[in-house]
């Protein structure tokens, strides 16, 4: 097994998705290659953070009764009440990608100085369209 092959298969190995034959080859390589061994340690430790993360968010004790109150307070509402606090959320990547695209794609036409919120909202809509929910239309929220 080459370093490159191994580089693709670490997570599959960790999750037990490889055949036993492949797993053995991978282990053999790890024993003989310091570079891959080190990378494997880093990758597996980081990948394991997903398990820690799962316990991080816990519902409050009165989560269920809060929701009950909310839906009964908003009885007349046909739509889901908008309660989301779009707090911190986004990441460097999201911003980076967005910036890259906007800067690369539209800077020629639009100069920053004379743009306003509306323009940027339009651009944002184009780049992050409202969900079409294609795949989830099969969700049968309307099963009639």
């Amino acid at each position: 097994m080459t370093c490159k092959t191994l580089n693709n298969k670490m997570l599959l190995y960790i999750d037990g998705n490889l055949s036993s034959n492949e797993s053995i080859k991978l282990e053999e390589h790890l024993h003989s290659c310091e570079k891959c061994k080190k990378l494997f340690e880093q990758v597996s430790q980081t990948y394991a953070l997903i398990n820690e993360e799962k316990g991080l968010a816990e519902a409050d004790k009165d989560f269920a009764s809060q929701i009950w109150k909310q839906v009964h307070k908003n009885r007349e509402l046909k739509q889901t009440p908008s309660i989301i606090k779009l707090s911190i959320i986004t990441t460097l990547a999201a911003a980076g990608i967005a910036l890259g695209v906007i800067v690369g794609g539209t800077f020629n036409e639009i100069s920053l100085q004379n743009t306003n919120t509306e323009t940027w909202e339009q651009l944002a809509d184009e780049y992050f369209p409202e969900p079409s929910l294609d795949y989830i239309t099969s969700i049968n929220l309307e099963t009639e």
Partner: protein, 191 residues
């Protein structure tokens, strides 16, 4: 009581206890799904709340053709994706409408903040992982999240996503290779 019985109690009698039992039964699972799409525990909880509100409001239309859990997880995925799209959009708008000094501040990755202090040294790696997950194509992201965060079987994922078993396998397989590549790049850069 089974999910089915609870659902009937809610639909027929607007039974608060039945509803709260159902929420308590699934709240952590729903939060876990949401965590696969965000790194903010607060946001995951916000989205989960929306999920259960939607469940309550739509329950009368749920015909029990699939398991309640399948239906619930679909709503959770749907709401999570919706929220991340809205968030990206909002950030973009904010970035270009505030003055540049504030823009820099908005570029700080919020993800890392979610990890406990004991893991300070790993924050960077964690941020790279979350970044990599976020950059997956949507279907891969969903399949991977349901598998790793929610620990659903491939068969359950196929039901939630309404795709074939082999499609699920392929999505998860590709997701893991793609994540692996991104992580390797991250560590090679550090080295």
């Amino acid at each position: 009581m089974s999910d089915k019985e609870l659902v009937e109690q809610i639909v027929n009698n607007d039974n608060q206890r039945a509803f709260e039992t159902l929420v308590n039964r699934y709240q952590q699972k729903v939060i876990n799904i949401c965590m696969g799409f965000t790194a903010s525990t607060d946001e995951a909880k916000d989205i989960s709340q929306e999920v259960f509100i939607e469940v309550y409001l739509s329950l009368r239309k749920f015909r029990q053709e699939s398991a309640f859990s399948t239906w619930l997880y679909r709503i959770a995925v749907n709401k999570s994706i919706n929220a991340t799209r809205q968030a990206k959009k909002k950030l973009l708008v904010r970035l270009f409408t505030k003055d540049n000094a504030n823009a820099n501040e908005l570029l700080i990755p919020a993800d890392a903040g979610a990890m406990p202090d004991a893991k300070m040294t790993k924050k960077e790696d964690y941020a790279a992982l979350k970044q990599a997950i976020k950059s997956l194509p949507e279907n891969q992201h969903i399949a991977f999240t349901l598998n790793k965060y929610q620990e659903l079987s491939y068969k359950e994922i196929a039901e939630v996503m309404d795709i074939s078993l082999s499609a699920v396998e392929s999505l998860i397989f590709r997701a893991k290779i793609s994540l692996q590549k991104k992580l390797a790049e991250h560590f090679n850069k550090k080295a």
